[in-house]
Symmetry: D2
């Protein structure tokens, strides 16, 4: 059994990690850390776990205990990751960091987008961007995996085959993202209350979204081309789920059949990517409603002949494939386990 | 492996049966029947199953195939159950019927509440009411299990300990139920469209709800007392989930501690019943949000000293413990399997 | 023009007051007070008012200005009302208080339900309970009107005709209330965030709800009988709206026709009460969805013959008839204006 | 008093027309036509109007009655408009058509986008596109006003100042629209039920949306340039409201101040256009939540320096400014009334 600890265990990403790990046959959750809720039972914060386990939260005063684990998941604050990732690595633990603090290679981006001077830039190059479908070989050997942001995961998975196939003729690619509320976590503010957020379509980041550099940097590296993206993010009236609508342009002839061929060639063997494109019916394109709680990323496409535009639709559950599920998939790869282990939860429908 | 077939396989209850059975290690879904969608792939109707199975729907012209199964689940029309339950039983199959057609012992109720003359009243006495927590011994030997309605399940589980303990002093007991939309199935009508149903609190059955006689009859039989209930049902702005608020009155002294004692004595060994009552916090009483997709029924209680009133709160997912999950739990008992098999799906949170 | 000031002007009740008053032809909003947002423009807090007015919030340091008004609406904290109601009255202003601080006659209830010793119990008897349909004559002469709580308004309006007609045979009457999120105001807490509250049915007050004593006291006074009620309140997945389902019992014969007769005799001349009871269709009973933003209270009823139970359904918009609309209706009466003035806003549908 | 009749009076657009017209001081609703609901009272279909009027629906057998009116609103089927617009015009009535049947000048578009051969192409040139803010002068003289689609209204209003100011450097302009359910009307289908549509983000028209040609044709005509747009439309989890996110590119220097200047110069005198752009806070960009039931179109903008991209955000209520409100504004112009008459309804907040 692989022993893991989770930091930031009172948040929504941690809830999803715990949910999936409780059904993982080869992993044991050894410790849950939450400074705020220390000594409380897990289910007092996460009511879905009542009757499933009697584990309690530990405070950071007992942090040493984590050192007996094989792997730590960090789903806590940015500062916690910056401080403890180097320490855990030095102690020989593997680390999966779910904050953005080790996603980018270029330390300057941290200054631009996060207003911080990164304290350990030397680790950035060592960190592996945790996108299993594309980075599987690197993840196998990684000590530190930096889990991508949910918009980044959905966008990169959708764009990768087109970029590798040199289909896109011009940049920036436009990404118009629609997000559920759980993406902004369990902290509260005036903006997050039900009365303010219900029935709203809030363009919370029309420009300068922080997932921008990770998408650009990663796509540019794998394609050896400078890829520019233009991202706008909206929060909408759902709790879980993300749809990224991606608008890009092609030059030559391109048919739906061509796109099927491209996407199949990249993804038909992937366990967690589904190509969704029907001629008719309610479910002809990806919709997060169809995959809540599962680790799928659903990809669809359409062609706008008049404009030589491709519309990509990429849906996932921001807490699962967009965070915790993806992290567990990476863990499975790091420890040479079946990639599907712990990720067999099927989406309830309708929800 | 136990072989099962599902009739009415395009509906929401069937979706949930399939979801749970796909993770059941000892059951194989042999056939799915849907006249409307025959020959279509499962995922064309139920998008959550894409990539999980290639099974297609069969039409009723291939109904004979079901006879090779060990068990059939009937989640189709009332008429289908009335016609085929006797046939399947005669052919030696076990049957779990999810319609109301075999829930009641007294055939007159079918005339009163369903406006039909029951065609095989002799089977009513043989049918076992599929409430595992209370009827486990009978389910073990049953050939025909009639799955309770979701309001009935939530209400009976909440009331059973009080009634057996002779706590309630007067009747009727008032049950005020709040239901998600999936309870009314996947058929469409003016009343069911999003624009009409969103943001609505619709008292769709303030009186004469069809779950009334099954609650009364079952509670009266197990308590050997005439129990009367007064049920009002509302549909609210959620897809899944049911909360029954039950108002009843006691005579003598009664404390919260007494209630804990009673409920623990009845249910502490039950896998799928949780007693939820905290002194403070968001989750101090049962809330369907906390158990979506799981097979739990959460029970809570409060005492209104001034009125000598007990308020019971009973929450479940109408498609899981309120239908499909409960049916699978019964199947596990009928075939002497671990009662939890196929029911380990943990509720995602938040949702 | 009547000049009014509003205290607590950044809250949701104040928003509704402002919305209605901006269309009131005989009232001028002279001052809006909000300590938190002082100097900000109204629309920076309440975005619906952008382009409609350039008024700004005043801080409490400018409170003196209010003394030039004819009337003040208090929609601020409990403490503010307790402190300033006596002062405003002494200065000769009329006061409409939207907090609960002057609703009850018996000061002991404040100790029991609000954990405070009321500082000016002598004013309690002078305050008029602001339910225009029942208390119209007293409101005409009132200096201080205490606006009822939303559950109280919906419940009392529904019950009054039955109680006056001596139809109800036993107590307590059970009131099962379903509330939108705006009822708990614009303050934020963990419990109020979208991710926690969406898709939830939360029994936030199964017993001991603070609207209990005001319903009991008022109904008892007008009927000269001791009326007991047993109230349970739930928050559900909508922003605006309240449905109270009221369960009570009758003794003798009673038909739907009888109920029509009773309700018509009490309310057919009332502008803001509608009796909603159709034999069929989506809208056969009251539903808050049908009256959002209007000042209606919709009343419906059904009879459960088997149990000699009457089910009353009472719907209103908690911010309009449940608070601000009702307050303006009272103001119109106090100043001898047309009772409908400022209240002609028609509910958009669907919403 | 101007007399109007409404055809297709049972739909949602008609509901909104009626709501606004009931508060219009110079218009009388003479007749409501609905074949399906003939003889029913208005409130049996539209529950929000109960107690406000006793008008009943007429069937099309009484269509002649409409000829006594000054104006007819057509909110019925496409075929009804195609057949009756010429007839009403010939009889001397003014017509406001809310279907798309007279929006386009080029009859070929009807073949391409609607699969019909337009029966009266000669009327297309005479019809005036009903966008008051841009077409006011033409509307004054119009006999036939064709009301724009909701996505077209929001997009054109947002784009017009940039296009007239020659700011946009390349085409197509990308419009990513997010729509509430009421946009697809009150008809029901599997796709429209609550269980299917709740919590969904459905890309129902990623390409080839029917509002495409009306936006392109209108913008091209007024700018004397060939404007291309690339529209993708999504339905989301709300009933009312539309947000169009528009991505376009500029060439030279451009600052937020420049944009303020441009938008102010075009729209500062417009009653129903608000420029919404704050530096911080929840409401810094347009959000349909803030204008439900009002006739506002809110416009905001942001600049993505890295990509020389402008992001426009345009929000409206699809039933008000997106349909009925806009139609009434046009009517006010046609009859030389105050443009704001009947449109003073203020959006309730929160909703």
């Amino acid at each position: 059994m692989i022993k893991v600890a989770i930091f930031g265990a009172s948040g929504y990403v941690a809830n999803e990690l715990i949910r999936l790990l409780l059904n993982h046959e080869k992993v044991e959750i050894s410790f849950l850390f939450s400074e705020t809720y220390k000594n409380k039972f897990l289910h007092q914060v996460h009511p879905n776990f009542k009757k499933l386990t009697n584990i309690r939260f530990l405070g950071y005063d007992e942090l040493e205990k984590a050192l007996s684990c094989d792997l730590v998941f960090l789903a806590s604050t940015y500062n916690f990751s910056l401080k403890y990732v180097p320490i855990f690595l030095k102690k020989g633990l593997k680390v999966i960091d779910l904050t953005p603090m080790f996603r980018l290679k270029n330390p300057e981006y941290y200054q631009t987008y996060y207003k911080i001077k990164h304290p350990c830039p030397e680790l950035l190059e060592k960190a592996v961007y945790g996108l299993p479908e594309i980075n599987r070989e690197l993840i196998k050997e990684a000590k530190l995996v930096a889990c991508p942001g949910c918009i980044a995961t959905s966008s990169i998975i959708a764009l990768y085959p087109l970029i590798k196939s040199r289909i896109i003729k011009s940049y920036p690619i436009i990404i118009d993202a629609k997000m559920g509320s759980s993406g902004s976590g369990s902290r509260y503010s005036q903006a997050s209350i039900y009365s303010e957020r219900a029935n709203s379509i809030r363009a919370y980041k029309p420009t300068n979204h922080r997932h921008t550099p990770e998408i650009e940097e990663f796509l540019s590296r794998i394609s050896k081309e400078e890829i520019k993206i233009a991202l706008s993010a909206h929060s909408i009236n759902i709790v879980r789920g993300l749809l990224a609508t991606i608008h890009c342009f092609f030059e030559n002839e391109l048919s739906i059949k061509d796109l099927w061929k491209i996407y199949r060639s990249f993804y038909s063997k992937e366990n967690f990517i589904r190509i969704v494109r029907e001629e008719k019916g309610i479910h002809r394109f990806p919709d997060p409603k169809n995959l809540i709680g599962s680790n799928y990323c659903d990809i669809g496409f359409d062609i706008d002949e008049r404009n030589k535009r491709i519309v990509l639709l990429s849906a996932l559950d921001n807490l699962t494939k967009g965070a915790a599920g993806n992290a567990i998939q990476s863990m499975n790869i790091m420890f040479n386990m079946d990639e599907k282990e712990g990720l067999k939860s099927i989406s309830p429908y309708p929800i």
